[in-house]
């Protein structure tokens, strides 16, 4: 199917001539190669161009930001919140916090200049980004309650693309649990292209939990670029089952000693859903730790991909890096691809990686059935056990039980 793109920089208001020109330069560069196809190494398992051409006749960035829906928060635990519509802040509340310690505002669109032709989606993002937020926590402030970012979308998003940039900075010694929560208020067939920049100063701790609450026709791409200073900690939990297409690319730069990061993911993919997690962990300093555990259950015709690279600089001695991907493939038409990569220049490091995929343990199913549990339920119990493991390290019990419920819902097909 031939696509037509209607990408218009004039959609974005209040741009100076200089900003318009720099955006145009990014857009021109994007058009040179277009959406990436499998010929691009980073996209060899996710042929975005093909997937989009199958699902979109035309793509436009002319998005109406008008919003009339009722805003609702979850009731499972006390939390601060930000409501976004199409990525733009509608309102926020930090009722549990000292609000002087938290800075939240619209993303300053003047900041980005990209011009990096290696990733055409980030080029497109730099050309067209609007909305987005900027969040900063001041030195030594530890938020008392988690922050949930509720992502709402307007109803008429068919054939639209949203481009958002967000910025999160935790200053020295500050702590935040951030839950990026996508609800299925919209069933439009649309694209969301997000670039997040995360900056963690000395000893800051960020827990980032990504939740897809219900099935969605969204085609999401998210690029997270983070930099970590001494002793800081960055934890990621990805529970994004339900999206038609999702690719999350996380680049973590462990720039100073004793910083550490984790990436846990639990996905149960159905129908023809396609999700890729691509990570690049740069150990740029000694004594840093990284830990990745990626778990996928593939049903129907779904496809899961994990590309994980650990890069260890020559000076990054005493690096401790680990990555593991495990997949349960429940249907002959489903597929899982894993591409683990280690590139190590230091000589005193501990790096390991592993990848397994297989079908469900039929002896375990049999055992459960001999206890009166019907096959379908037995399989679900095993899937649940397989995926739930990634939640083991969440030590706030109310958040953990909330995530367990989300995961159970996802296993039941939302």
């Amino acid at each position: 199917m031939m696509q037509s793109y209607d990408f218009d920089i004039k959609q974005i208001k209040n741009l100076s001539l200089e900003e318009t020109n720099s955006r145009q330069k990014n857009l021109d560069l994007f058009f040179k190669s277009g959406f990436p196809s499998k010929q691009v190494e980073d996209w060899k398992f996710t042929d975005l161009n093909l997937i989009l051409s199958k699902n979109f006749k035309s793509i436009s960035n002319k998005v109406n930001f008008a919003f009339s829906e009722k805003l609702e928060t979850i009731k499972h635990f006390e939390h601060n919140h930000i409501f976004l519509n199409n990525g733009k802040i509608i309102s926020s509340s930090f009722a549990y916090e000292d609000t002087n310690k938290i800075l939240i505002k619209d993303f300053d669109q003047k900041e980005p200049t990209n011009f990096n032709p290696a990733n055409t989606l980030t080029l497109l993002n730099s050309a067209l980004s609007s909305g987005g937020f900027s969040l900063e926590v001041t030195k030594n402030y530890k938020l008392k309650k988690p922050l949930i970012i509720y992502n709402y979308f307007s109803k008429d998003l068919d054939n639209k693309i949203l481009n958002n940039k967000n910025f999160i900075k935790l200053n020295e010694g500050s702590e935040l649990t951030l839950i990026d929560y996508n609800d299925g208020h919209v069933q439009s067939n649309f694209i969301k292209n997000t670039v997040d920049t995360v900056s963690l100063e000395d000893n800051a701790v960020l827990k980032n939990i990504l939740i897809q609450e219900s099935k969605s026709n969204g085609h999401f791409y998210k690029y997270i670029k983070s930099s970590l200073e001494s002793g800081s900690k960055y934890e990621n939990y990805i529970l994004s089952s339900g999206l038609k297409l999702n690719k999350i690319e996380i680049e973590i730069n462990l720039n100073k000693k004793d910083s550490s990061c984790t990436i846990y993911s639990a996905l149960n993919l159905l129908d023809d859903q396609h999700q890729e997690i691509k990570t690049r962990i740069n150990h740029n300093s000694p004594n840093c730790k990284s830990y990745q555990k990626i778990k996928n259950v593939l049903n129907d015709k779904s496809r899961g991909v994990y590309q994980g690279k650990i890069f260890v600089e020559k000076i990054a001695q005493k690096t401790d890096a680990y990555q593991l991907s495990k997949a349960l493939i429940l249907n002959d038409n489903a597929e899982f691809d894993a591409k683990p990569e280690l590139e190590i220049y230091a000589d005193d490091v501990k790096c390991s990686h592993g990848s397994t995929s297989g079908s469900i343990d039929s002896d375990a199913v049999h055992y459960l059935m001999t206890r009166g549990i019907p096959k379908k339920e037995a399989v679900k119990l095993l899937i649940n056990g397989f995926l739930n493991e990634v939640l083991e390290n969440i030590n706030t019990s109310e958040i953990k039980s909330f995530l367990e419920k989300i995961l159970e819902k996802q296993i039941n097909g939302h």
């Binding site: 055992y367 001999t370 493991e389």
Partner: protein, 244 residues
């Protein structure tokens, strides 16, 4: 309760059971003894409904043809198999598994499903009877359990699901003397006029604690001798060779 007539079972073209007959009535304890490879575990597997066997002959359980029942339906109707090697299932919480199992069985028997609080109270009681430490119940199913703990967990499931026919497949193997006594006490305390046991064992040891009404000697897929409890003691002295 259980009537087996001329049962033949073949797996991968290898004939294991070659015409087995057995009749178990409510309130009875039957023991099946026999050398390795005689078909003891195959009999347990076939009764539980394990896939992969080609079966001829008849098995009736309270008048129902077992071949018509799925694996889970057999459990729901009251057949319980305590495994020789209980499986370790990573990720599955023991309590969650026990509750799912009990409620599936209760639902099939037309009883109300138990809510979490009622269940936890019940399971605590049952675990205490078997001297099972509560902390095992919040661990992953059988993962890192010792042999004895796994077997006690099987008996716990038996007492929870209240079967009519309990099949114990070499439950005594891997048990030390204390665990053996606890398992035997578990069985004896559950025994009543309504239910029956089929105890598959290699040795007389377990039968010192659980007194069988009948002992059958299985050899090469057939029952070659049936006797009372004394037969076990005799076998202990003379071995199987004289009978086969």
């Amino acid at each position: 309760m259980l009537k087996i007539k001329d049962l033949k079972a073949t797996i991968n073209e290898k004939s294991i059971l070659k015409g087995l007959n057995l009749d178990i009535k409510p309130g009875e304890i039957h023991a099946i003894m026999g050398p390795n490879g005689s078909g003891k575990s195959t009999l347990a597997n076939v009764l539980s409904g394990k896939n992969g066997y080609e079966i001829e002959g008849e098995i009736y359980f309270n008048g129902i043809n077992l071949n018509d029942l799925k694996i889970e339906e057999r459990a729901q109707k009251g057949i319980f198999l305590a495994f020789q090697y209980p499986l370790e299932i990573p990720g599955v919480n023991t309590n969650n598994f026990l509750k799912t199992s009990l409620n599936a069985v209760r639902k099939a028997r037309g009883k109300k499903e138990l809510d979490t609080l009622t269940f936890l109270k019940l399971i605590k009681e049952k675990a205490k009877e078997l001297n099972i430490d509560e902390k095992f119940l919040s661990r992953q199913l059988n993962v890192g359990f010792s042999g004895g703990e796994k077997k006690k967990n099987e008996i716990l499931q038996m007492k929870l699901l209240e079967p009519k026919l309990s099949i114990l497949d070499e439950t005594d193997s891997g048990l030390d003397i204390d665990a053996l006594r606890i398992v035997a006490d578990g069985v004896n305390s559950y025994k009543n006029k309504e239910n029956a046991f089929l105890i598959i064992t290699h040795y007389q040891r377990l039968l010192d604690y659980i007194k069988p009404d009948y002992i059958h000697v299985l050899s090469a897929g057939r029952i070659v001798k049936t006797g009372n409890a004394d037969l076990g003691k005799q076998l202990e002295k003379t071995g199987y060779e004289n009978l086969i």
